[in-house]
Amino acid sequence: MESAVWIILLPLLTAFFLGIFKLYSDKLFYSLVIVSMVIYLYLLILVINDSYPPKVYSIGNWGLLGINLMVDSFSAMFLLIIAILFITVIIFSLNYIKVNKHKFIILTYVMIAGIAGMVLTADLFNLYVFLEVSSMSSYALTAIKKTDKSIESSFKYLIMSTFGSFFILLATILTYYLTGTLNMAEISLEFKSVPFMIKSTIMFFFIFGYGIKIGLVPLHAWMPDSYEASPIPYNVLSSGLVMKSAIYALIRLLYVIFGVEFLTESGILNIGVFWGVLTFIIAHTLAYQQSNLNRLLGYSSIAQIGYITIGLFLGNEKGLIGGSFHILNHGIMKGTLFLVLGIFYYSLKADEIEDIQGLGYKFPVLSFTFVVAALAIVGLPPFNGFISKWLIIEAAIEAGFFYAAFFILVGTFLSLTYYLKVIIKLYTKTEKKTLIEKPDLSLKLPTFFLGSLCILFGIVPSLPLSLINNIPKFLLNNSEYIRILLGG
């Protein structure tokens, strides 16, 4: 079970070596990027395969005294997203990024290491440290274009995210003070004897802290600006991984440390579902008024996070499966949309809705992928978005949240309106446009790969669902997770 550590170590080691190779030779730099990417893909597949009976890897061989890494099906599903998005983004950005290319690739590797660390760790303070690693590299990636807007939005993102980190650190300190340990399994055992009011207050601080990082509605102010100003390959990773790892960490904390009984008893599940509904209603309406495509897709990401919050906060098995499947699907769909937008921006510097008029005829295959991904994200039947949204609706009805199920349908039509607006603009005839640069294969290939995944997971959902189906076993009743983590 060595490879669980290597998933965090390999990107870090590559980033450090790239930092040195950058000074000497470009050829060495790019060959290391390709080699480490291939090895990393192989390692990820290795770990995802033998993830069913969850395994624990203790750093420094200290067992419960030190830090433990835990690979169960929830983290394996997240490693699957990392495998899919990371490889496509690195290939795409190898010749998409012109300014500060070396720094961009080094910071992407560090961010992937931070997110892999957040996903695998079973230790509370280690989760905070890796949260800081991934946030620090995402502030840097937001500001890498050094335009006025990117510096200003990166500063706003930095202040809001640090504000959230304070509450997470405060809750971690209070948890240590109450339980005397930092291992998630031991904390959940010790938390059984902690009075109700204190536990719900600590839970409130965790939710408030992570809520800012996830971007739920009243706390999402920093999100659209950072989408508009950062490089498009980073947008793929930000909406696919950075927001998702925050909600992954929150769900891991809530279900393992506090346990489902406490969640239902304290009524946080209803608040979570209501917050999700509020998020996607407001995000859809705001997305409708946007003219910049990046901001439009940013608001649509916030809306999809609303669906995922509903799915994961329902507290029943089908909800967890639907929510996790939607995390996977949204990463792929939003990745396709952003990559297609990236190619449009690369070839025509087009990022307003008016600029992409008539591009349907110039890039027929690319626009077809855009339409496929747009219909998938809206949730129309043959694609993967429909299946996960349908699972969430079924789970909502099963859990008795009829208003949530109804509003998801309303939300589907809302998102249909603004995506149709873009698609219609794409296919309206217009005069000839001069191409600045011809996008070559290494830009188109990742886009088509992600687009085909949208269709593949829609037609054959059993492929990823086989992995996702045993997620609730270790989240709903956390005794199984705790038994394994305590070295059972």
């Binding site: 060595e2 550590v5 450090f16 000074l23 560090v110 800081e132 005397g180």
Partner: protein
């Protein structure tokens, strides 16, 4: 209308802060009368010295029991240094230095050797006396900072080129991970200095506590080079 709106926003913010304050105030007077359990720290205190060989328990927790946090933290410093290095403009920037008197120049020349000795002492005696990789590294970073302030950025840049700084930073970080991998090659897990029976020696001596002194050294090099690079890019920025 906007005046009322501004007042409303002001009271909304103050209300939010007070609302959160009540939560924390409530917790703290509730927490005081709880019986808190500290079995993990009791274990560190009673068996810490035998298991890791380091007398300074904080260093043994930082570099052996919870070594992974320190790796994450060293990455945070590397990211901060990388962020600041691409912030600086390419063109030459006039440094807003002030002309110091001759006394300052002479004292700096005298102080620098003591700083080197102090920094190295804090790094190597990290597992015996308070200090350790981070503190020693920052003191070593003080030397290029003092040279930059006194002799201007151009002199300090050609004394210790930026490329050398990022090279040193890379070497420190890779060294830390390679020492961690030593644990795997010795048959136990990653970053295992106490458990993988590297020579623990008898506590209190300089060469004791397995890998901890070398981990300290690597972190010291990395933090020193990283913070010197951060300082120079902040000075050159503008």
């Amino acid at each position: 209308m906007s005046r009322v709106h501004k007042i409303f926003r002001k009271f909304y913010k103050i209300g939010l802060v007070l609302f959160l304050a009540i939560f924390l105030l409530f917790i703290f007077d509730e927490i005081q009368n709880l019986d808190i359990k500290r079995y993990l720290s009791e274990h560190y205190i009673s068996e810490g010295v035998q298991e890791t060989g380091a007398i300074n328990l904080v260093t043994s927790v930082l570099y052996d029991y919870r070594g992974f946090d320190t790796l994450g933290e060293a990455t945070v410093i590397l990211t901060a240094a990388a962020t600041l290095s691409f912030m600086t403009p390419i063109k030459k920037v006039k440094m807003l230095g002030t002309e110091f008197t001759i006394i300052i120049y002479q004292t700096i020349i005298i102080i620098i050797p003591f700083l080197v000795v102090l920094g190295m002492n804090l790094i190597f005696f990290g597992h015996i006396s308070p200090g350790g990789g981070f503190v020693g590294g920052v003191i070593l970073a003080m030397i290029p900072i003092l040279v930059t302030i006194n002799y201007g950025i151009t002199f300090s840049e050609n004394k210790l080129k930026p490329n050398h700084k990022s090279l040193l930073e890379g070497i420190g970080a890779i060294g830390f991970i390679l020492l961690g991998l030593l644990g795997i090659f010795a048959g136990s897990n990653f970053l295992a200095s106490g458990q993988a029976n590297f020579g623990l020696g008898n506590p209190g001596e300089l060469i004791s506590a397995g890998l901890i002194p070398y981990l300290n050294l690597m972190i010291g090099i990395k933090v020193g080079a990283g913070l010197a690079a951060i300082f120079n890019s902040l000075i050159k920025e503008g």
